[in-house]
Amino acid sequence: MGSRKTRVLIAKPGLDGHDRGAKVVARGLRDAGMEVIYTGLRQTPEEIVRAAMQEDVDMIGLSILSGAHMSVCKKILEMMDQHQFHVPIFVGGIIPTDDGQQLMKMGIAAVFGPGTPISDIVGKVEEIVGQRVSE
């Protein structure tokens, strides 16, 4: 009642069907008191950005295990420019270190590899969203 809730969209772009990681993260954020909108498998960049817009989320989490992270993230960032809608994005999955750094340079807020404790992800999301809200 009357209080602000952190809202996060968890999406799986691309064609791989392994959504366990996305589900574990969604559940972890839920248990940290956030509202998590889970949109499921095989989402296009356009669908993800539109869903994030309509849901007015504070952050988007992408789970990518297909190796397509560079092109997918680039498309999503372009789509955000096109819609003039910008929220921070974090990416989880099999992301080589070099690519991770590249993604951060492109404007991705955080990259999490396999084995990252949920508490780290929750902490990072809270930190990034907290900064945005106070701005």
Partner: protein, 318 residues
Amino acid sequence: MESDKSDRLVSSQKSAQLDGLLERLRKGDQIALAKAISFFENDPELIFYLQGELQEILAQSKSHIVGVTGSPGAGKSTLTDAYVSILRREGKRVGIIAVDPSSPFTGGALLGDRIRMKRHFSDDGVFIRSMGSRGNVGGLNDSVFGVIMLYKLYGFDYIIIETVGAGQSEVDIAYVADTVVLVLSPSSGDEIQLMKAGIMEIADVFVVNKADMDGAELLKMNLETVLNFSEIQKPIVMSVATSGRGIDELYQQIEKHKTHLYETGEICQRASRRMKKHAETILDNRIQSILQCVDSNDVNVMVNAVLDEICKSRFGGL
């Protein structure tokens, strides 16, 4: 409701922001609509802010509000998805509110209704907003009234509200929707379950979903028997939401009910019922917040004093 915009509920900065958002959303800006919803969601009392010209628009709005309720997994989201496809075929613009439960422990929520509505994600004529119930126990969210107003201002032809998975007594949707659709699925119990008070009473249209499964015909027969006990005939639609079977008929039945509401003038009763429920919700929340400020020790002292008083008068101070 005074028409003073400097109501203590709204700070001047907030009101300027909200003014801007309302202006933009009326021009069809979905980002502004989404942000305005967040405002209302975080502070349902902002509704007092919508006055003057906006009230007039709302009074003239013909957006039809369809409530979809039923037990978890009955197929509410999938049915909504299929129904929206038909509304889109008819050229209607649709705003959806999909409520899922918030955790009573952490306040967090997993909002997963969208996942069944993927085919409308890139359609400009469909707007989907997921909500946590945030402590509301009637199957909705307290800000649902505010979001309806915003959807009406935006100009959706149909507003679909999907409740949380409802058991027997989450019936608030009856006070909010113009047409209530109750989704049932086979194996949900015998005819005694259908005779119980509560959710079975609030439906305007019954849907037996998953009609390709065993037990669907039996459920329909039981439902017909139970509905025959009453004088008002209510339609039963057999559907398979995943394949689209029966959805055309659902659309027809909702249209029929809509026509009936307008012909009999009942649409006005439903609107005032909604307004009354809205007022009650605001009052309840006010009272809750006042009670939260009361020290529980004070309450105990007061309760004991009253009990002593009662005992004294009844039992002569024994």
